[in-house]
Amino acid sequence: MNRDELLKSLSSLDFMAVDLGLYLNTHPDDCEAVDEYNRIIKAADKVRMKYEEEYGPLCSFRSYARDGWSWIDNPWPWNACFNVNIEKGAC
């Protein structure tokens, strides 16, 4: 996967994890949802590791530093060029 594909995949998985986490806060006994949550976290971990190996740290004080201190490198998420194109119709 290239950078855009990795970032899009990670964003999708994280979005699912956030929403499932919020659901589980009020439905903590839903075993099916817990299993799905863990499946998504596992998948997101793999993608996050691949992204960081190639494109630098995603987190402050949680990621390993590679190639010096590349945390400060451009672009940042608020720059348009950081973000992936979402094709028409995808939501």
């Binding site: 964003s11 919020l22 903590p28 940042w76 348009a80």
Partner: protein, 140 residues
């Protein structure tokens, strides 16, 4: 505590600046029912919650609202990037520009700066949850 992750919750890639749109979007950044208000509302109210479900929900929604705040700020930033003097004047963005340049400042669309007076935290979980529904129910 919090950990910053160097990505947006949802990608924002605006290629064409639009001063008029920025003037409206800023409401969701620093307006009465905007993301900053939502973040502070939930962060403050979580301390009064009684049930495990409500504590977790307010804590985690406060966190998510922070991610929304960054996305709305990103939209304003990208919508105003590279605007010319003519474009700023034509859209009526000049009163904002004279005070903040093209910086992203937490204010309402009307220009009123963000204030904690927009939110409440009463120490009573039911009262606070009703306040949340009024503020965030329609535009969560």
């Amino acid at each position: 505590m919090w950990i910053y992750e160097k990505k947006l919750e949802y990608p924002i890639k605006i290629t064409k600046p639009d001063a008029r749109m920025a003037k409206i979007i800023i409401e969701q950044y620093g307006g009465g029912d905007g993301e900053l208000g939502a973040t502070l509302r939930y962060l403050s109210q979580k301390f009064s919650m009684v049930t495990p479900q409500a504590k977790a929900t307010l804590n985690d929604i406060a966190t998510e609202e922070m991610a929304h705040l960054e996305m709305v700020g990103t939209m304003v930033h990208q919508l105003t990037r590279g605007l010319t003097e003519e474009q700023i004047k034509a859209a009526g963005l000049d009163p904002y520009y004279v005070a903040h340049g093209l910086g992203v400042y937490p204010s309402a669309a009307s220009g009123v700066p963000f204030t904690a007076a927009y939110i409440q935290s009463k120490g009573d979980p039911i009262t606070d949850l009703y306040e949340d529904m009024a503020a965030d129910g329609a535009i969560a």
